[in-house]
């Protein structure tokens, strides 16, 4: 694959896209996990699926949509889905988690209707569900690059506000920062990152790329910055390792990426166990 990268455009696309989502998915994932919003990623990825299906369906009947990259309508759906979730969380103040299954099932429902209206799809849809090494286009690469720059810059600039909001929402509000707007920007970023990641990992596995590396790093990291750093290292390892494996074994990359992330998680749990045993034997604190 290393040599292939210089020869084949599709490999370049997959490789560079992989590097970017290996960075941004775990970066936002850390905030999602510590705020206990992991399921939002799942809900939004299924809404994105509905958008992709809608785009493919439109392409089938209207030639104007034929050349359109489905990522745009997918992104539009994901962003609107995130806005609906926020609205619903306001309506069900005491059952905020209800917003997630409502949006998730609406996403699947719409997606299934669009798919059956088009009498099923070709392999295109399969690649959106499980990711693909070969299907990443130059347009995808550019769109994802723009999203990545946008997300990294915003997280960098809003880092202390995002931290405060994640650690203690009430305190964030009491301290007088614009908690609502910052939360809104955050949810928007999540929606965009999900739309960006699905090209490589696939819709069904996007949320695992946002949560598994974080689940591993949270076990061993000291402090929040280190948690972010380790999550990104684990994310990159999973994505790049998964892409190589998928390419050589001719598998859908979503599965290989997630399985490497699971492997890292298991190692992290084992590492924690070993490290915890030591001070006990020495009789430390």
């Amino acid at each position: 694959m290393i040599q292939g990268i210089f020869h084949y455009e599709f490999l370049q696309n997959a490789f560079f896209t992989g590097i970017m989502i290996g960075l941004i998915a775990p970066l936002l994932g850390v905030f999602i996990v510590v705020r206990r919003l992991s399921l939002i990623a799942d809900a939004l990825s299924h809404v994105t699926l509905a958008g992709i299906a809608a785009s493919l369906l439109l392409g089938k009947y209207f030639s104007a949509f034929n050349g359109l990259n489905p990522i745009y309508i997918g992104m539009a759906f994901s962003v609107s889905g995130s806005l609906f979730i926020e609205k619903l969380r306001g309506v069900y103040k005491h059952y905020q988690e209800l917003a997630i299954p409502i949006i998730l099932s609406s996403g699947i429902g719409l997606g299934v209707i669009f798919i059956s209206l088009a009498n099923g799809f070709n392999t295109d849809l399969f690649s959106y569900l499980f990711g693909s090494v070969t299907a990443v286009s130059r347009t995808d690469l550019w769109v994802i690059l723009i999203i990545s720059i946008f997300v990294v810059l915003l997280v960098f600039l809003l880092y202390k506000e995002l931290f405060l909001l994640s650690f203690d929402e009430e305190h964030a509000k009491a301290s007088g920062i614009a908690a609502k707007s910052i939360h809104f920007v955050f949810i928007l970023m999540v929606a965009l990152v999900i739309a960006a990641s699905m090209r490589i990992v696939g819709i069904l596995l996007v949320s695992s790329l946002m949560t598994l590396p974080v689940a591993a790093s949270i076990r061993i990291a000291k402090g929040f910055k280190q948690t972010i750093f380790l999550s990104i290292i684990f994310g990159e390892t999973s994505v790049l390792g998964g892409l190589f494996t998928a390419y050589y074994l001719n598998l859908a990359p979503g599965g290989t990426i997630v399985m490497i992330a699971v492997l890292i998680l298991v190692l992290a749990l084992a590492f924690k166990k070993i490290r915890h045993k030591e001070p006990e034997q020495v009789g430390g604190e």
Binding site: K160, L164, F167, D168, E170, A172, G176, I218
Partner: protein, 259 residues
């Protein structure tokens, strides 16, 4: 004119749905005071604090902070807050003590600003003030309840507030540490000139450390200096406060758990 009050509450009433939770409350907190608000569970103490902090919307009455009407008040970084929830936060949160305390500077630094060397020193100073500086690199979840509570106070102190508001900070703190905890608060009040507003259950401890006391149970039953409170507490207090408090007072006087 006498010195301006830090908090001035006038004719304040509040209801969540249909039942009144606070009715016609008048409280004035002078500069440098250490006001303890006591009252049984569900008497509206936390509600009162949330109104003062602008977390709940004013329905009836007025609140002035530093002389400014609350709706126009902007300098929230002058007020430090340690919420009742601070002792039930997500203990698995992967943040170091230093990071938690530094988050108290968020508003003061402002958007798109980063911690500078000077700010890091301020964070360490706040940790020193509560005796937690040796733990700055630990994850917050690895500390005991009492240590966590001190960290949250350091976080409130780091923006150098003139007023510190605490909601039942000793819940979940073991009894041996409660006294040293109040000693630390008293020190902040006397030596750092921070006005304190403390909601508490520990009536016993209140009167030796606080300068003023307010007894709340929907209505304000007493509001005055700690010495006056001391005089009346035995007879009148038990009238509205009930059995629970009589017991606490009893323990206190006999050198019970609160001594």
């Amino acid at each position: 004119m006498t010195e301006q009050a830090i908090i001035e509450i006038k004719n304040l009433s509040y209801r969540y749905e249909k039942d009144m939770v606070l009715e016609n409350i008048n409280i004035s907190v002078p500069k440098g005071a250490f006001l303890a608000i006591v009252g049984p569970n569900g008497s509206g103490k936390s509600t009162l604090l949330k109104l003062v902090l602008g977390l709940l919307k004013l329905q009836k009455g007025d609140i002035r902070l530093f002389g400014e009407e609350i709706n126009h008040f902007k300098n929230w970084e002058e007020i430090g807050y340690v919420s009742q929830k601070a002792n039930s936060f997500n203990t698995g949160f992967p943040a170091s003590v230093f990071e938690v305390v530094a988050s108290g500077l968020t508003k003061k630094l402002g958007l798109f600003r980063f911690l500078k060397k000077e700010d890091k020193r301020i964070v360490m100073d706040a940790l020193k003030a509560v005796g937690m500086d040796p733990f700055s690199k630990r994850n917050i979840g690895e500390l005991s309840g009492g240590q966590q509570q001190r960290v949250f106070i350091a976080r409130a102190l780091v923006s150098e507030p003139k007023l510190l508001i605490l909601d039942e900070p000793t819940v979940g703190v073991d009894i041996q540490n409660v006294n040293s905890f109040y000693q630390m608060l008293s020190n902040l009040n006397k030596n750092h000139a921070i006005t304190l507003l403390l909601v508490t259950h520990d009536i016993g401890t209140v009167s030796d450390k606080a300068t003023h006391v307010a007894c709340l149970n929907k209505h304000l039953h007493f509001h005055g200096e700690a010495s006056e409170f001391e005089q009346m507490k035995n007879d009148e207090m038990s009238d509205f406060y009930g059995h629970e408090v009589q017991m606490l007072l009893h323990q206190h006087e006999h050198g019970g758990v609160y001594k």
